[in-house]
Structures are given as C-alpha cells and as structure tokens.
C-alpha cells in the first residue's frame, strides 16, 4: 500500500505533464476549441476577412426563413436517420442473429456483408453511379425502367440512402455479432427448456441482455446519419435533392462565398443534435462503470 501512495519522482511528473499536456492541447486546440468557436462565430456575420461584426441570432433567422436548402437538408438528414435506424440497423441485427449459430460458410457470408465497411464512401458514391446511372446504369437495364435515379430530385435521396445502408448494415452486423457471442448460452438453453420458441427466446431473453450494444448501435446510427457527407458529395456535391446539413456547412467554406458566420450557425444546429445523443450515451456508459 505504501508503494501505491508513493509520490511520483520529478522525472515521472515531467513525463506525465508532457504526455497528457500534448494530448490535452491537441484535443482542446483542434476539437473542442473550434467547436466552441463555431458557437461564437454563429452569432457573427464574418466572411473570413475583415472585422468580425456581431449579428446576434440573425444567421439562425435567415437560415430558417430565407435559405430553402436548409429545410431540405433537415428533411434529408431526418430521412437518412430514419432509414438507417428503421431499415438498415434492424436488417444488420437480423443478419447477425442468423449468422450467430454454427453454420457452414458463415465466415464467407460475414465477409461479404462487411466488405463495404472498408470501402471509402467516395468509392461507394462512385459505385452508386454505375448502378443508378440514367443511360447505362444496371438498375435501369435490369428493370427496363428509364428512371433518372440520381438526377430526379424527388427520388435520388432514397437510392443514395440504399447505398449508404449497404455500408451501414455490415457495420451494425459486426457489432451485434460480437454482442451476441457474449450472451451466456445457458440463458438460451434455459429458455428453450421452458418451451420458448426461437423468436420468443430472442425477443424476451437475448435482446434485453443486448442493451449496452443497442445503445452503442443507436449512437453509431445517429452519428453516421449526422456525419453523412462523402457519398452525396461524390455523387453531385450534395445539390439537387441531395442536400445535407454537413454539405451546407462545407459549402460555406469551400464554395466561392465564404460565409463563416452563416456556416457556423448550421454547424451549431448539428452540434446541438449530436451533443444530445452523445451526452445520453456517455452518461449511461460511465454510470454503468461506477
């Protein structure tokens, strides 16, 4: 015990201060500092050069009232979240449940399902073009339709979400598969002895024990939905029906018009939504740990 409460030597303290100091400086300087700066800048009309002028909540007002892409982006982000959460995630769980048994070729199926996870979303966006292209895309060739899947602004978000879901399913499946492996087999046996069917066993016995995994998957799903960017940017730079909040933020920096204040206001809206989920997740995570 005496050893544990021993004071650190001067050299130990130096090593700790440098190591943790660098970590904190990098994290605060490049992540939290800019995040707080977003909040501050969102109340200004700054254009990147010249004096910073305070405009209060005007950016938010303009955003809601005079910037049509904003509402289509909100709608698309919500759709994206709903699609990942209600279609892709349950499907990933379903595949994990099917694969979580002694099955020949299980490894092959698994590999196929999570191969898209390692692909860059820019490449996924490109593959989507091959499939959905109006003139020579495979989808039109197979179905005999002549739909402009990516060009028609009323449907393109749906087919792009399918491409994003393609990747999301594998991701969710890996995590659930690991969670299912950790479930005590005795639980399932006991349920089977009590005469529960497979479906009942899953919903009444297995699924409740997966709660921590469910929380993680929920957070991943929400974060992925808010982060969605590369795939629409690779397809058409996020215009014409494919607007997303993340694209609008980026547009205000890389686009011709550098509207730092206005872009920050959109970023703050993203921040508020994501922080809600992050805080819920972390408080749960660290509560359990205690």
């Amino acid at each position: 015990m005496a050893a544990k409460t021993r004071r650190y030597s001067a050299r130990d303290v130096t090593v700790l201060v440098i190591g943790l100091g660098v970590a904190i400086v990098v994290n605060v300087g490049l992540i939290w500092g800019p995040t707080l700066a977003s909040v501050g800048l969102s109340a200004t009309g700054w254009n990147g050069i010249g004096p910073i002028e305070w405009v209060g909540a005007r950016n938010y007002h303009d955003l809601a009232a005079e910037y049509p892409p904003f509402w289509s982006a909100v709608r698309n982000n919500l759709l994206w979240l709903a699609f990942l959460g209600l279609v892709a995630t349950p499907f990933g769980l379903f595949c994990a449940v099917l694969l979580d048994r002694r099955l020949r070729l299980s490894r092959v199926y698994q590999s196929a399902l999570y191969m898209p996870v390692v692909l860059s979303l820019a490449v996924v966006g490109f593959i989507a073009q091959l499939v959905y292209s109006h003139d020579y895309g495979v989808l039109n060739a197979v179905t005999g339709l002549g739909v402009d899947w990516l060009g028609d602004s009323s449907i393109n978000i749906w087919v792009v979400m399918v491409a994003a879901g393609w990747r999301h399913v594998g991701y969710v499946m890996i995590i659930y598969l690991a969670g299912l492996k950790a479930v005590d087999p005795a639980l399932k046996e006991a349920a089977a002895i009590d005469g529960a069917g497979e479906r009942q066993t899953f919903f009444r016995v297995v699924f409740p024990t997966l709660r921590p995994v469910n929380v993680i998957v929920l957070v991943i799903t929400v974060i992925e939905a808010l982060r969605a960017f590369d795939i629409v940017y690779a397809i058409n730079k996020g215009r014409n029906g494919l607007e997303l909040l993340s694209v609008l933020v980026t547009e205000n920096i890389v686009g011709e018009a550098s509207r730092i204040g206005f872009g920050s206001a959109i970023a703050v809206i993203l921040l508020v939504i994501s922080l809600g989920f992050i805080v819920t997740y972390l408080s749960q995570l660290f509560k359990e740990e205690r």
Partner: protein, 290 residues
C-alpha cells in the same frame, strides 16, 4: 441428437439460401465495378453495363495508374497516414495508461471529454478549424504553403486529434483488464512512470494495438472530408481525392473511373482480407467493454 435434427433441415436450407442471396447482393455492386473496369467504353456505351462482354482488357488499370498519377497520390496518403497512425497510437496509449493505471485527478472527466470529442460530426468544428489553419504560420521547410492550411502536417494533426478519443477509450478499457499485480511488482521495484508504460504495459497491449492500427489505417486512408477542406493544392491531395482527376471537364469515361476506384479501394480491401480478425476486433473492442 439425430432424430431432433432431421426436421430442421429444410429450414437450414432456407437459411443458407437467404444468406447466400444477401451475400451475393452485397458483393454484386463491387463486382459490377470490377466488371465495368475491364470493358472498353464504346462497348458499354453501346450495350450498357448489364450485358455480356465482347472484349475484356486491363488497359484501364494502366491508364488510371498513369493518367491519375496514382503512385504520386498513394505516396501522399502514406505521408499523411503513417505518421498520423503512429502519433495517434503513441499519444492515445500513453493517455490511456495514465487514465487507467495512475491515480490522476480528473481522469474520468478527461476520458469523457476525449471520447465525446471523437463522436462529434466533423462539420461541427470544421469552419473555425479551417480559419485557424489559415492563420497558423509554418516555416517554409515544413510546408510550402507557409501555413497549417494546405500542409501535410495539418492533415496529420487533425487525424490525430480526431481519432485520438476513440483510441484512448478502447485502450483504457483494455488496460483495465490487465491484472494490476504486474505493474504493482514494478512499483515496489521503483520503476518510473515511463518504464511502467513503455516496458510493462505496452507490450501487453499488442492485440489492441494491432486491432486499432488496422482500423485507423482504414479510416485515415478513406478520409475525404478533411483533405477536401484543409488542402488546396491538387498535387498534395490523398489518393481518395485523386479520383476526380479522372473526370473530364465535359466527358467522363466511367470505365476508367471504375478502374481508378478499384485501385483506390485495393489497399483497404487487402488489409481487410489479411487482417480480418484485427479489423473486427478493433470495431468490437470499442463497443463491448473490455
């Protein structure tokens, strides 16, 4: 055993049929891209992508390799990813060690702040980050743009900062599972903090380091957004962004682009095939607590 197994057989067949179908559906888009990359443009323009081949050729790979100057961009990616990976793992493992193993005041708060930082959507902080990068001067020998903006160092730093939180979280969880006795014996011997970290803890973390390297390599390699916003010189972009060089101003040969995409996706696919186990471990270590 045998009598109860018989009646299940047809169900099992159905299960295999379903999984095989899903797996096939999942591989199909990628297979399509490979197929398109092997066929001449005039042929697919005439027959569509969903047709039997008349000619198969590897020419597009050579063309993409030289026309998009892929070797140059692979090198750019390496210049960014290798230091990024090493610094992230070094910094994160030391921080995780301090948090998990030493009784540092506020260690829990640190862990929460770091983990939360990793969950933020990048767009939340990208606008001020961009401004910050343009304002930080660098000597010419370090960056020919003479600022953090448009420099390799800038991209390395943001990768480190952004991925750091996840790595700390995973490694702190892992280190908690290592029996305390090992370092306690060293404490009695009077080993320094650095020695306990570098000599005693880190060697035991090999599995988690392997898993995180695999995962982080894939993520950093696949990055698209940071380079898009924080780089301006075309010749310094990482390989994922180089694909745009294959798009013509008026005409894009999609088969050429398909070949380019496959070349860009190849390293991550190879890593995934070779280090399959580590990749999955990296994803699941973060989700199931150590």
């Amino acid at each position: 055993m045998t009598p109860s197994r018989r009646p299940v057989r047809p169900l099992r067949m159905l299960l295999h049929a379903f999984l095989a179908l899903v797996a096939l559906g999942w591989v199909l888009p990628l297979a399509l891209a490979v197929y398109a990359s092997l066929r001449p443009y005039e042929e697919t323009a005439r027959l569509g992508y969903f047709s039997l081949p008349e000619h198969l050729t590897l020419d597009y790979y050579g063309q993409a390799w030289s026309q998009a100057e892929l070797p140059h961009y692979y090198l750019n990616t390496l210049i960014i990813v290798v230091p990024g990976l090493l610094i992230t793992l070094l910094l994160a493992s030391f921080t995780a060690f301090a948090i998990a193993r030493l009784r540092i005041p506020g260690r829990k708060a640190l862990l929460i702040v770091f983990t939360a930082g990793n969950l933020l959507p990048p767009q939340v902080l990208i606008t001020p980050l961009y401004t910050l990068y343009t304002l930080v001067p660098l000597p010419a020998w370090l960056s020919d743009s003479q600022s953090l903006y448009d420099s390799y160092l800038g991209l390395i730093l943001i990768h480190v900062a952004f991925q750091f939180g996840f790595c700390v979280f995973v490694m702190a969880n892992y280190m908690r599972t290592i029996p305390e006795e090992i370092t306690e014996a060293a404490l009695v011997d009077g080993a320094s903090v650095w020695k306990r970290y570098w000599r005693l803890t880190l060697p035991l973390c090999r599995p988690v380091l392997a898993a995180l390297s695999t995962l982080q390599f894939t993520w950093m390699y696949n990055d698209f957004l940071w380079a898009l916003v924080l780089m301006s010189s075309g010749d310094k972009l990482p390989v994922t962004s180089a694909l745009n060089n294959l798009r013509g101003q008026f005409f894009t040969d999609y088969n050429l682009l398909a070949a380019g995409s496959m070349l860009v996706a190849l390293p991550t696919l190879v890593v995934f095939q070779l280090l399959h186990k580590q990749f999955v471990a990296g994803l699941t270590l973060g989700s199931t607590k150590g």
